[in-house]
Symmetry: C2
Subunit: 376 residues, 2 copies
């Protein structure tokens, strides 16, 4: 019944009985329980043709809050949000993920409590935590699986550590899946089939098909970075040749420019040069876009998305990345799959992850089973 109310429209007890086919007595008891939980609140009176007008009820997104956490190799961004995603307090700072789960999660707990204070909400209002990590995650268990850039984190019990502090459910996913969710839930909620591509040090993607994130059998779906680029023989750190990441990741672009005498060592250097109008940097980003396009052309044939959203720091370099991607995808994929395809830049940018972590955490709280357990 609560799922009917999630759209925010006020409804009477009679509306709910008619919509669910459940007995009036069942509805009355359930409305009382939802009112007591605060998830549903009185929403005034319905219009009436005579007699006392019936009371209406609606979802109350301010009833509880969630904590959203986006951890990268070198950044931590966190927010306390309402259940429908409205941000009440937000913070970001630089970290080194290699400091390990003990140090990093202690800082997350400290910052989380500060953000709850800033939002003027008590820890009792916290309903759940959503957290994104920069590596493969077993979503069901909430544990990283052999994450290559997260020394010390393999199989760490992230939900256990955080729920010992806050005593609420904790959901963990990889950073690209929560970025996909963030862009989808805030900018493109009506799109059923979306591919979010992150281009940064690594290259990865989050896949939404039929409206939901698809994680695959081990939660490893979307791993574009080690797909072979046709024609490339570049050595990759994974041991294979020609992987997309080794050709078009931020460090690969920076190294290519450095060989031509430019002072580029990081993705940020590449972005700064390209934005300053450096022609060689712009061309290098465009060429990286073409290589990414070679792999995305295959993804378009396989997944037939409505929209490809391109995010990650290299996307900040400007239109050259998208131009390179579009050039190859529209040439290489079949007409049926590209005739309505849009390839766009992320609009949530560096906040994609934290917004997605909020959506993931809220969805957990508002699922049918969770609401049942809430109200007993």
């Amino acid at each position: 019944m609560f799922q009917l109310l999630r759209d925010g429209r006020p409804r009477t007890r009679a509306d709910l009985a008619a919509l669910t086919g459940q007995a009036r007595s069942t509805i009355a008891a359930r409305v009382d329980a939802l009112l007591a939980s605060g998830l549903v609140a009185p929403a005034g009176e319905a219009s009436s043709t005579g007699g006392r007008p019936p009371a209406t009820f609606a979802f109350n997104p301010a009833a509880r809050v969630v904590l959203a956490v986006d951890l990268g190799a070198t950044h931590c961004r966190m927010a306390v949000t309402e259940l429908a995603g409205r941000v009440l307090a937000e913070h970001h700072e630089r970290i080194a993920i290699g400091d390990g789960p003990g140090a990093i999660l202690a800082r997350v707990m400290e910052l989380g409590d500060l953000l709850l204070d800033e939002a003027e909400r008590s820890p009792d209002d916290l309903a759940s935590v959503g957290i994104g990590l920069p590596g493969p995650v077993d979503h069901a268990a909430g544990r990283p699986i052999n994450p290559p850039i997260m020394p010390g984190w393999d199989d760490a019990d992230v939900p256990g550590m955080l729920s010992a502090h806050w005593h609420v459910p904790v959901l963990v996913d990889n950073d690209v899946n929560i970025m996909a969710l963030g862009e989808h839930s805030t900018v493109l909620p009506g799109v059923r089939d979306l591919l979010f591509v992150k281009v940064a040090t690594g290259i990865g993607s989050g896949i939404i098909m039929d409206g939901r994130i698809r994680r695959g059998a081990q939660g490893a779906a979307g791993d574009l970075g080690h797909i072979a680029v046709p024609g490339s023989q570049q050595q990759c750190r994974c041991g294979n040749l020609g992987c997309l990441e080794a050709v078009a990741g931020g460090p690969a672009i920076a190294a290519g420019l450095a060989r031509r005498g430019l002072a580029t060592t990081t993705s940020a250097d590449v972005v700064a040069l390209a934005r300053a109008g450096d022609i060689e940097a712009g061309q290098a980003v465009r060429e990286a876009g073409r290589h990414i396009g070679e792999v995305l052309a295959g993804c378009v044939s396989l997944l037939n998305p409505d929209v490809i959203v391109v995010g990650g720091i290299i996307a900040d370099a400007g239109e050259q990345l998208l131009a390179g991607i579009r050039e190859i995808v529209y040439r290489r994929s079949l007409p049926l799959a590209t005739q309505h395809l849009r390839i766009v830049a992320s609009r949530t940018k560096e906040r994609a992850g934290v917004l997605g972590a909020s959506a993931m955490a809220a969805d957990l709280v508002l699922s049918a089973a969770a609401v049942d357990s809430f109200i007993g």
Copy 2:
């Protein structure tokens, strides 16, 4: 409520009230309606601790039948099955799909009526029709979209033509999606993430993620045949270079062997030679498997399936095709995505499509909305 009964277990009215939370009066009326429809039948009495034992009810898969149709470029296979997939009558014959929708669907109607007779069921027992076509299909509208090997079929109103004859809902999908569904529903029902690859004249795939077929935005998902094979420059009929189909499809293998003096013009010739132990044919099939493996390695990174099932006529050539695929996929994909991955031959073989068409048609009938409209 009917969805609870689909598992086949007998339940009492009290069981159903407890499981659904619906009022006893609602349950009683609904059970009566389902009994009248025949979809649910009395299933004896429950054990009782005293007094008159309560009656139980269970799903009756023999209540209605569906017609399953698998059309290929040169074959037509059809079956009348019960709602849980049991085959009551089956037929196959050679056709030429280019004869067009008028001639081909007239033959389908004629054969369908004959199969209903053979199954000793009346047209009134027919609940729905499922049909697979060898080209892209707009699944929602049931119409082919610019199908390259189906002259005369573009935008044909297949559901309209068949439902004018049988007056039941008709679902249409492409042949590879119904093959995926056939293998999944009969051999691997517990697998959540499966990729079914058909290797024949064309090369295509059907994608099951989180337990359901994923069709993408225009129903074009799974189109492997025109993904570029790294290192290949072979001209494809689509206009691009290096497409998988142009390198590893049946005609490409046959042409390669013909250039070496063997009498191969069709996929069937290749299969016959390889099965007879011809070493060159076996090597050619294995090399095709390697090329398919190059593309599937990318699919494994992107989709992270539990199982890849390989079907289609070239799979009949024996173990060489799978050996070539496995060789490359296990070398090229990341360990996380391959550690539990199985790559197996189709067990439903040439019946995959017709079994899948049956599952698709039955699922339509047994969905909640459909059952509601049945029982008024």
